[in-house]
Symmetry: C2
Subunit: 455 residues, 2 copies
């Protein structure tokens, strides 16, 4: 295994759009954008706080992690950026069936995420836990996120029903340092509380307490995670030409392909452990860059599974996608052997090969087939999926996304487009002050139902 | 609860493309396509077998299901259409943490799917099972699917290591009636075997033994599933005008929106239990319609979670998507109540409301916000997520997908575009007869690596 964090092959990333490449302009654009990024934004701008997260020490979280590890179960109550990062870290660094292992095998409390406000999902979590022996981490910067607060009420009620009227023994809130209901709740009850740094947005918060606590409770090496992120940061900050900087290359390739009608970016890792990484990436990319009538749509795929689901469309459908194929070069591999049945003779070609080696060859084969079909492909390799390399990969995508946003002249750290739906929900829920929104929502919704049919 | 299987509101499904609507032409086109579908295709055509599946009796599967239920664990070894349907049925009809329940609570064996050829994922399944007390259902029509056969070898080896040299006690194969390694394996070992009807393709096979056995073993009511599918079939076959047939409407809306640059179709159910339904839909839609340089890309979303991840892009990004918002109108709801903390006063608007009612209002709010932003939205309602309605929903999407394919002049039942990658994989694996493919794959892959950078 080599020491590199990430290797990319970009010889086919601009397939069909090479004519648009202008290294001079590009270097200038990205140098300027990187400068803004590295100094933490222009004066008065916000959202750059994530850039400093890799350099923090994990030590201040140790006491909280020890506290969490004293419970049977940890439930994270949060949605979007307060859940996807946790699921990504658990998916990449924990056993795939972590909660089904015995406590001894697991080496940490069981872990659930209460993100959606689906009463059936929330009730199912309650089926699995003893609330009195469960730590609840409630995460909302504003303290107003409807789904999160609904789940928070639900689990407070469950504590009460289990005889726990003082929730401070079981609850930790992570929220704004001053404002909002969760901050007030901490003051009222004296429960544990941590702060989401003001300049860190939800989708960029995984390397803060928001993401690190649950991973640490599950036994992940969060020190290595941060060190990996920090190493990537150093490398990216230092590389100041297009040819040397994979984040510049990804940003440019996504922009150029988008301008040429490729309005989707497909992230297709070849590793089960990176499946939830793609979900996390989809929020990061979609919310950061999808605005002002622009934005390529992130599409999550998983190799080799999606060879049997989406590759037909990828290969023979329209030329409207830019592909990122991501694979670790080392895995815990297992040799395939023949069980000695004559009927399985046709499988001789598998014998003596590693199943993981086959998976990597499938990644290469898919890249080759897409390239043959004229599609743009960026090849991405990490040495292995471990905490150090995962941290570096997280930071890589955060950096590339922010850089692309700045280069496109967008604010990659806001999400004004979600406000309308929130107001409509408040209105329809009868929240005081949102009566006009209720009327408007009803009117818009009625237009959908103006033509309807039942079967 | 009403008796309907599905209600759609399509007043906003053609937003912005109304000018292209031509009911006369449309009725003619779909009437012709439906005719082809109902008679099982033109002479010599293949793949229409799924159309008959709803009308089969589940009784012939009973004995096999009883056999499966005698085991501690069932492992389905299959990929794509031999896995996604199983995951969809389990996700919709079983407890979300089914495998974590006790045997008494579960009422059936634990269930795992070995789909990917990721050695870490496969080894993790082995960690969880006692092979000697596990039933393995190996599914591959050809008996040659590399990932499936690799996993099959792996678990045969595991049986052997557990002292089981005669796998016939533990293995069931579902494969071609005559051809292939799995059929030969059944003949050699005398293990149980079932047949994938010749005219049923993988992505249309969920209502055959491929999908039904594992669901039945888990205690799902597969009789109701088939009855629901059958009821939907009757309704769709009878409704022979655009205004009366929701499948015609979906097919037309997707085609017309696609022709106007909306090259994505987003399926966004508002129910955790339908999350894996979307994965199943993505294969069905993508592989059936993504060919001949055409095809809208299916995008999976989940409400309300993706309001906090993708809705920013959906609302303010480019006008390149057609949205299907799907919600059950009844759920096992739970009332939200106030736990009596002064700090949580701002949540009063939640008190006394159902969490599930809120989720449905969020679906309406999202639809309204997207409609306001000028995006086309098809509203879809089912009464509840149960076996009967799930069966009907499955058949609805199969029918609409096949119909759209026929109307577009495509063969919705083939997948020629996956062959190239398979050949490249065989070549790279050193399988005899694929030497030229190995060279070509290597050459294409090298073009990606002709420019590379490490950090």
């Amino acid at each position: 295994m080599n020491d590199d964090l990430l290797r990319i092959g970009f010889g086919a990333a601009f397939q069909g759009v090479e004519a648009g490449l202008d290294p001079g302009r590009m270097n200038e654009l990205f140098r300027r954008s990187a400068e803004v990024l590295h100094k933490g934004g222009e004066e008065g701008s916000d959202g750059f706080g994530w850039f400093g997260l890799p350099d923090q020490s994990p030590a201040p979280l140790n006491e909280t992690i020890s506290w969490l590890r004293g419970f049977d179960t940890v439930v994270q109550i949060g949605i979007g950026g307060s859940a996807l990062g946790n699921q990504m870290l658990s998916g990449a660094l924990c056993h795939p069936f972590y909660n089904e292992l015995t406590r001894k095998e697991r080496k940490g409390p069981r872990f659930y995420v209460a993100d959606n406000a689906d009463p059936e999902g929330t009730a199912a979590i309650l089926d699995m836990i003893d609330p009195s022996r469960t730590a609840f981490i409630a995460v909302s910067k504003s303290g107003a996120t409807a789904e999160t607060m609904a789940n928070f009420l639900f689990f407070l009620e469950a504590l009460k029903k289990n005889g726990i009227n003082d929730p401070s023994e079981n609850v930790l809130v992570i929220t704004d340092p001053v404002k909002g209901a969760l901050r007030a709740f901490a003051a009222e009850t004296g429960c544990r509380s941590l702060t989401i740094p003001g300049s860190v947005g939800g989708r960029f918060s995984v390397l803060s307490a928001v993401g690190l606590l649950s991973a640490g409770a599950q036994g992940a090496d969060i020190g290595s995670l941060l060190m990996g992120a920090s190493a990537m940061k150093r490398n990216l900050v230092e590389a100041d030409t297009f040819e040397k900087n994979p984040a510049w290359i990804l940003a440019e390739a996504s922009m150029l392909n988008y301008q040429h009608g490729r309005n989707m970016i497909v992230l297709m890792p070849y590793a089960d452990s990176l499946n939830s990484f793609s979900e996390w990436f989809c929020q990061l990319w979609g919310e950061s860059l999808g605005k002002a009538l622009q934005g390529s749509t992130p599409v999550r795929a998983l190799g080799a599974i999606d060879q049997h689901s989406q590759v037909q469309l990828y290969a023979e459908g329209p030329d409207d996608k830019f592909f990122l194929i991501l694979t670790p070069t080392a895995r815990h591999d297992t040799l395939m052997s023949s069980p000695g049945f004559q009927s399985l003779e046709s499988l001789e070609y598998l014998e003596g090969k590693g199943m993981g080696s086959m998976l990597e060859l499938e990644a290469r084969a898919t890249a080759a087939a897409l390239i043959k079909a004229g599609k743009p492909v960026l090849w991405m390799e990490i040495p292995v999926v471990d905490a150090y390399r995962l941290g570096s990969l997280i930071f890589f995508f955060e950096y590339a996304t922010a850089l692309a946003g700045l280069a496109m002249g967008l604010n990659p750290f806001d999400q004004p487009g979600v406000e309308q739906g929130k107001k409509y929900t408040y209105g329809l829920m009868g929240r005081p002050g949102f009566e006009k929104d209720a009327d408007e929502a009803q009117e818009r919704f009625s237009s959908a139902m103006s033509l309807s049919v039942n079967v």
